[in-house]
């Protein structure tokens, strides 16, 4: 599904990603690990089409994520490393998501409920006024409601209490069949149950890539 060849990304003199080649296929559930600054987020942003590669290429189902972003993002769910301080109210944000991506509102409510997040009383609150954990729960609910073939999570559980983590992993386990999911994480024990492939990165390179 995702084909990465010789991908390099530099910021000035910093080489954040150094000639990485890797494929991700349907059915893969990948734990992406590595020290801070190893290049995990950079790799994900290249997959999402946010960065232009310095050299090399990314293809998602044969398409270029920068040029054909609309087609690709139709089937990608993404939860960023830090929930952004979006000023829209939850109701507005939901309408943005539903109208732009054809997500069903009821599904967002449904998954939010599964994540123990009560949306209704917060509908008119700005997204950034929610607590850190609530924001993350909301983003997770959206990512699940979107019914995507590719699901990308950049440390999604950082702000979640243990109970919410369990909910998240349970929902993911139900969802991830026949899909491609990528989890950036620093705690392999936590994701052991939901992944079938582990990748370690260091200094912009992939150091190990093994099934598990």
């Amino acid at each position: 599904m995702i084909k990465i060849e010789n991908l390099t990304k530099k910021f000035g003199k910093t080489v954040s990603l150094d000639a990485v080649s890797i494929n991700f296929n349907r059915g893969d559930a990948v734990a992406l690990m590595g020290a801070n600054g190893a290049g995990k987020t950079t790799l994900i942003r290249l997959i999402m089409g946010y960065y232009h590669p310095t050299s090399g290429s990314v293809e998602i189902n044969g398409l270029n994520p920068v040029k054909e972003r609309v087609d690709i993002l139709q089937s990608v769910s993404f939860v960023p490393q830090l929930p952004p301080p979006i000023k829209l109210s939850l109701a507005e944000l939901i309408s943005y998501i539903c109208k732009s991506s054809g997500v069903k509102k009821e599904m967002i409510f449904e998954y939010a409920k599964e994540m123990k997040l009560d949306i209704i009383p917060n509908l008119n609150k700005s997204f950034f006024q929610l607590s850190g954990g609530m924001k993350q729960k909301f983003l997770i609910a959206v990512s699940l409601a979107k019914e995507s073939d590719i699901m990308i999570y950049d440390e999604p559980t950082a702000n979640l209490d243990p109970k919410a983590r369990d909910d998240f992993y349970r929902l993911i386990k139900e969802k991830e069949k026949d899909k491609l999911s990528l989890f950036v994480t620093h705690r392999i024990e936590e994701v052991q149950d939901i992944v079938n492939r582990q990748i370690y990165m260091d200094l912009g390179k992939i150091t190990t890539d093994e099934a598990c």
Partner: protein, 275 residues
């Protein structure tokens, strides 16, 4: 198109709640209220009177403060969203970059234009109510000028916004652009003129590349050219072209300038890394 409107609509809603928008509306609305309270419409100075005098004062103040308002509030719209990673999340949905960018432009245009226009419309309504005669020609010209001003500075602001990496930088550049257009160009040209190095016609043509100068001249172009308030530039211009030609130019040129800048801003936005 559907997505573009969606983004414009959401940006509009977000802006209307923002503090800057409230201050912005109060400033322009307050200006009009102040003029009425001060009795501008009743005084007779330099041949202007009634509503035309009020509208002239309004547009003259607006020419100075609208650009800086538009610049500092708009310049952070793309760069601020980039800084705070809002862009990263919002653009993880299937929205094309052009829908996003032009949606933001459209939303901002409405937010910026409506208050300055409404303040003027309010002056007309209140003036009529008080029995003043409405100078329709001036009203329509100034509506056009407000439109052109909003476009020009919004375009410049979006260009800066997508060009720079951080919103701090964007803010600094806005101040520079404003001061530059407001004063520096004039000062430089005046000094050139005094040294007699260039022909007057050339200097004035250069002065007119500056949208702020065009607005200044256009704002008084409908008044009697005999009046003393008209500066040398205005006098020269209105001598050179027909009044209606200049009026059209003063609306079309800044509007096009704004669109051009916004367009270059889009090119830069689409070519650079998004986050």
């Amino acid at each position: 198109m559907k997505n573009l409107l969606l983004i414009a609509y959401l940006d509009l809603k977000e802006s209307i709640r923002a503090n800057w928008f409230i201050i912005y509306s109060i400033v322009f609305g307050g200006l009009i209220a102040l003029f009425f309270i001060a009795g501008i419409t009743e005084s007779q100075v330099m041949g202007f009177s009634g509503l035309s005098r009020l509208l002239l004062m309004y547009i003259q103040v607006t020419i100075i403060i609208l650009p800086i308002f538009v610049l500092i509030t708009t310049v952070r719209s793309i760069s601020g969203d980039r800084d705070s990673h809002i862009l990263e999340y919002m653009l993880s949905f299937p929205i094309s970059l052009s829908q996003y960018y032009w949606g933001k432009v459209a939303g901002r245009f409405i937010t910026v234009f409506i208050p300055v226009f409404m303040a003027m419309a309010f002056a007309i309504i209140y003036g009529t109510f008080k029995g003043a005669e409405v100078p329709w020609e001036i009203f329509f010209l100034y509506t056009g000028l407000l439109f052109a001003m909003s476009s020009a500075f919004l375009g410049i602001a979006f260009f800066v916004s997508s060009l720079v990496k951080s919103s701090e930088m964007a803010l600094g550049i806005s101040f520079f652009v404003w001061i530059f257009l407001l004063a520096f160009i004039d000062i430089a040209l005046i000094s050139l003129m005094m040294q007699n190095r260039m022909s007057e016609g050339l200097i004035i043509s250069i002065a007119l590349l500056n949208p702020m100068e065009i607005f200044r001249v256009s704002a008084i172009s409908l008044f009697d050219p005999e009046l003393t308030v008209m500066g040398p530039v205005a006098f020269y211009i209105l001598d050179m072209m027909k009044q209606w030609q200049f009026v059209v130019l003063s609306i079309v040129y800044p509007t096009l300038l704004g669109i051009l800048f916004a367009f270059f801003g889009y090119k830069v936005f689409a070519k650079k890394d998004l986050v």
